[in-house]
């Protein structure tokens, strides 16, 4: 069948600059750049995914990637990408697959919320001169403490359940070994350890060589139960039950057999080359009381020494579901918004299911407060955090901390080409091909991750100080420090914020 699909990108090679060194040829796993019989280099546009690897590594900067200009008769409905998707399905009969988070131009509420700062009546605090505290504890908190003072000494009479200590309120979100390379996993674990925060194994198990980072690792128990065994639960600071993921609420996961090599096979405890299919639901969870059983099974298995998190996708009824999860005994609820990334998901689901995390955080925080149980769980927000500003706004809306993943991948080199599911990641991140994954140097990747989070922490300190606050807990749920621009009354009501310029109240 003749394919009607036109290339998406066009590679321009400046022949005056090109020295025919063939770096581009070697760098591209999609085999875009080729050497012709006469030794000259040419490029096959239709294979290009715009990952920019060749552009970045070309020593003479001879390459640029542009959008392929093909004429579509002016139409707001039947755009080039719509037509391309229809041709793909007409030619294959398959579900369209993609990677990373929802790229559609839905409203980004972060960009409609503005932060406050002190002027005159309240001095701002200079974080370079004064202490600025970002430390955060995640876990279930009792409503009150019993403290006894006798004979000049104080003693705590209440037993507090286990807490995760974060030196910055930013953690690395779940990415499995299988979806990403071993080197990427190691870089995340090392950076989390250096930063005093946590990385998350996703549902891919924990490679034995990473056991030494156990104190900064959250291990996930997902519907496929891949790599879950006693030692796995022990080599963790916290456990996370994955119910859903923002990029693909309501469906399971699929790691293609091509990505299941020797190491992934051993870590996931599945045969080499077999597809790793996670069912859509957990087959032992058909309602909230079943979730409670799994939460307590994990607590029993680890003798109540580790907090248990439950991760869900932000969906329409997220507030009520979160209340149920809190009452089922979870210590942490991770809420993954519809912009959250993935290694592989059906495009139609990624782009159309779920709700923005901004609205979800606000709804969940408000609901738990109305029910008087906000102290029982910590809220971790995930899904598309792009900068320190997004993070600080999430905390002001009511989150305790956030998970970042796409930003972490970008820090390591990802250019968000959305081809993670092909296993051909030229940046050595979303691949199990040894030739590709060795491109990611874990020393450098860990340093880049550390730098990113350290920079965000610095920026958060500056913004906090500007608001006259020197401890992050005083911003949590402090929505008066947020003002809205360009939102409807209904949106502001859900977010619990006032319009910019409205009187302080």
């Amino acid at each position: 069948m003749k394919s009607y699909i036109l290339p998406e990108f066009k590679i321009k090679r400046d022949n005056e600059r090109c020295i025919e060194c063939q770096v581009c040829v070697r760098q591209c796993a999609f085999e875009v750049h080729k050497v012709s019989q006469d030794g000259s280099i040419y490029s096959e546009n239709d294979k290009c995914v715009a990952c920019e690897r060749c552009v970045t590594f070309c020593p003479t900067k001879a390459l640029t990637i542009e959008e392929y200009e093909h004429y579509i008769k002016d139409n707001a409905n039947w755009t080039a990408s719509v037509q391309r998707n229809i041709w793909k399905q007409a030619e294959t009969g398959g579900v369209l697959l993609t990677g990373m988070g929802n790229p559609k131009p839905y409203p980004i509420y972060w960009d409609h919320l503005l932060l406050n700062a002190s002027q005159v009546t309240n001095p701002s605090i200079d974080p370079l001169r004064e202490p600025m505290e970002l430390r955060t504890y995640l876990g279930s908190k009792p409503e009150s403490l019993e403290v006894e003072i006798s004979g000049g000494s104080v003693r705590l009479k209440t037993k507090v359940s286990p807490q995760l200590k974060l030196e910055v309120p930013i953690m690395f979100s779940a990415m499995s070994f299988g979806a990403i390379s071993y080197n990427a996993c190691e870089a995340l674990a090392r950076a989390a350890t250096e930063l005093g925060t946590y990385c998350n194994t996703g549902e891919g198990g924990l490679h034995e060589k990473l056991y030494k980072y156990a104190d900064h690792t959250i291990v996930q128990v997902a519907s496929g139960r891949f790599g879950v065994h006693k030692k796995y639960l022990e080599k963790a600071a916290a456990l996370e039950i994955k119910i859903g993921q923002g990029a693909k609420p309501g469906i399971g996961g699929h790691l293609p057999g091509e990505k299941v090599g020797e190491e992934v096979s051993r870590t996931r405890m599945i045969p080499v080359g077999s597809d790793a299919l996670s069912p859509a639901p957990h087959h032992d969870i058909y309602s909230i009381e079943d979730l409670s059983q799994l939460i307590y099974s994990l607590k029993e298995a680890t003798e109540y020494t580790k907090p248990v998190s439950v991760k869900i996708a932000a969906v329409h009824n997220v507030a009520a579901i979160s209340s149920g999860i809190a009452r089922a005994g979870a210590d942490i609820i991770a809420i993954d918004g519809f912009r959250g990334g993935t290694g592989a998901a059906p495009t139609v689901i990624r782009d159309n299911v779920g709700i923005p995390v901004e609205l979800a955080i606000a709804a969940v925080d408000s609901r738990l407060r109305e029910e008087g149980i906000r102290n029982r769980v910590s809220i971790v927000a995930a899904g598309g955090f792009r900068s320190s500003a997004d993070v600080i706004k999430a905390i002001a809306l009511g989150a305790d901390a956030v998970y970042i993943a796409t930003a972490a991948l970008v820090a390591m080199g990802c250019h968000v080409c959305q081809k993670c599911y092909t296993g051909k990641c030229n940046w050595g991140i979303a691949t199990q091909d040894p030739k590709l994954s060795k491109r990611l140097n874990p020393d450098i990747a860990a340093e880049r991750l550390y730098n990113l989070v350290a920079a965000w922490a610095h920026e958060i300190s500056e913004m906090l100080g500007g608001m006259g606050i020197n401890a992050i807990e005083s911003l949590k749920g402090n929505r008066l420090h947020l003002r809205a621009v360009g939102l409807t009354k209904e949106e502001m009501d859900v977010l619990g914020v006032k319009v910019a310029g409205a009187p302080l109240s």
């Binding site: 505290e133 403290v147 407060r369 006259g468 020197n470 749920g477 420090h481 302080l504 109240s505």
Partner: protein, 380 residues
Amino acid sequence: MEGINGRRNISGCGLTGFMSEEGRLINGEAIIRSIEVLHDRSNGLGGGFAGYGIYPHKKDFYAFHIMYDDAEAKDASEKIIEERFSISGEEPIPTRKVSTITKAPILWRYFLKPELDECDKDISEDDYVIETVMLINDTIPGAYVFSSGKNMGAFKAVGYPEEIGRFYRLDEYEGYTWIGHGRFPTNTPGWWGGAHPFTILDWAVVHNGEISSYDANRRYVEMYGYKCTMLTDTEVVAYLLDLMLRYHRLPVEIACKVLAPPFWSEIDRLKEERKEEGNVFEALRQIYGSAMLNGPFAIIVGHASGIIGLSDRMKLRPLVAGRKDDMLFIASEEAAIREISPNLDILWHPRAGEPVIGELKRTSIKKQAKVINLKERIVL
């Protein structure tokens, strides 16, 4: 929720307070003299006082001080009061004419005993009173209960504090603890209810500062049924104290460490040196993080059995304390203390976040023999 005038209250202010730990009763003129010195810290847009031990003849009744905009508000509030309490006495709050104090609302006080019906048996009298205060303040337009404790009373208005003290004839009351406040609001135009102190039951708080953590604190106390109708930082402090001290039964020193906690670096050090103590402070910040007051503040809190002075953990607002015999003085300026007690035994500047705590040593309150002549210099 809209605040009064739809505005939240922020201000800079002068504070003063003192108590006799032996329970000697002191004429209210002393607190007027003390706050008068701090005239320049206020701008004539509000001031107020609270005195403890001032209603010895009605000491077992909850004394409600209520301001009404009109007779309609009064009728509606009294309907609630009559339904819920037996009234042992009611009268206008006595005032004298002061040329600068104008536009006074109707000021009325009631001495009340809760009449809990069968359905309310499981809540305490204190909770019942709080519920009533919240009900009136939240639902009746133009009515505002600004004092609701036993054997104590708050007095507040728009004007300079010394004028307000004279307007309320404080020289005709005697109390073992007095606190006073002069306001420099940067926001709310003069509304009498917006002046300090803010009270609930016998807690009365005067405050200088702006709490940057306000909305985190507000949303925290609202989880426990308090309603922040005033939208001032100070109101939230009163509710936080009530929650921690009365409900959670935390010791006063510990509650102060919640409001102005040590830095994590200090807690980490403490955990190495004295593990158990370090664990207490770590847990306090973990559990009561939303109760921490962030931003500049100095507060003086009065309550039935004592007085508390506290500044924020960076001491961005002034606070000094002094002692003379059984008297403990706390103020934003030394001058306010020296005015009424020039020869102190000791005067100190409490460190950031370090509470000054005065406790009533005796349960029986002594009558002070001395009658103060308004013209003479007061020396406590």
